[in-house]
């Protein structure tokens, strides 16, 4: 886990990591959220809707933005304050996702950073993009 203090942050500072989506993660999210929509549980239904297989929960993949700021940028001293999020393409189970973020703005008065972030699949296709607002608290 990174432990950036406020004074160590700068615009352009970037981090990224990769995660492979698994059936287990999808099942855990189903139990956690209670979202039983068949697009995420029934392959036939998903194919009939025009997708190649069941679609990974968007909020499952976007949970990786929490990891981005809570573990990497800024890490330990992060306080997530808000996020603007767009889902651009579906993600599927077994996709390998690359989560990347870069600080785009620092508000000195309130010690708040904005992180421009994105998730791409292994083929380089954009899955989602986000603008994440995080406070940086003192230990």
């Amino acid at each position: 886990m990174n432990s950036y203090h406020w004074d160590e942050l700068s615009e352009g500072l970037s981090h990224e990591f990769e995660v492979q989506l698994t059936q287990s993660m999808q099942q855990d999210f189903l139990e956690l959220s209670g979202d039983q929509n068949p697009l995420h549980t029934d392959g036939k239904f998903a194919k009939h809707a025009g997708f190649r297989d069941v679609v990974a929960y968007g909020m499952l993949t976007s949970a990786l933005y929490s990891t981005l700021v809570g573990i990497y940028l800024p890490g330990r001293y992060c306080l997530l304050q808000g996020i603007d999020l767009d889902f651009v393409n579906p993600a599927f189970l077994e996709d390998r996702l690359r989560v990347a973020g870069s600080i785009s703005y620092l508000n000195q008065a309130y010690r708040r950073a904005e992180v421009k972030a994105s998730i791409h699949n292994g083929a380089g296709q954009l899955i989602s993009r986000a603008k994440i607002r995080v406070g940086v608290h003192e230990h």
Binding site: Y105, Q108, A109, Y110
Partner: protein
């Protein structure tokens, strides 16, 4: 409407999610619905980025309304 006020109004409408908000120099957190502490940070962040200026915490703590913010912004913009 003065130019700066007309430039700020859409920012406030967007962040406070109120398309009918009529911003005046007397507007402040006490008389504008939804202007809470987190919205305030969002407003300041948006203004800093749009106008390419920055505020210190001390400057912000002295502001009592939008009019005083506009006066501060105009002083900063004039110094560039």
């Amino acid at each position: 409407m003065p130019k700066m006020l007309s430039q700020l109004e859409p920012i406030f409408r967007d962040i406070l999610d109120n398309s009918r908000l009529n911003l005046t120099r007397e507007s402040n957190a006490s008389n504008v619905a939804g202007w809470d502490s987190l919205a305030h940070i969002n407003l300041i962040s948006a203004i800093e980025q749009q106008f390419e200026i920055s505020f210190t915490l001390g400057e912000l703590q002295e502001l009592r309304n939008v009019g005083e913010m506009i006066d501060l912004m105009e002083r900063k913009l004039a110094m560039r």
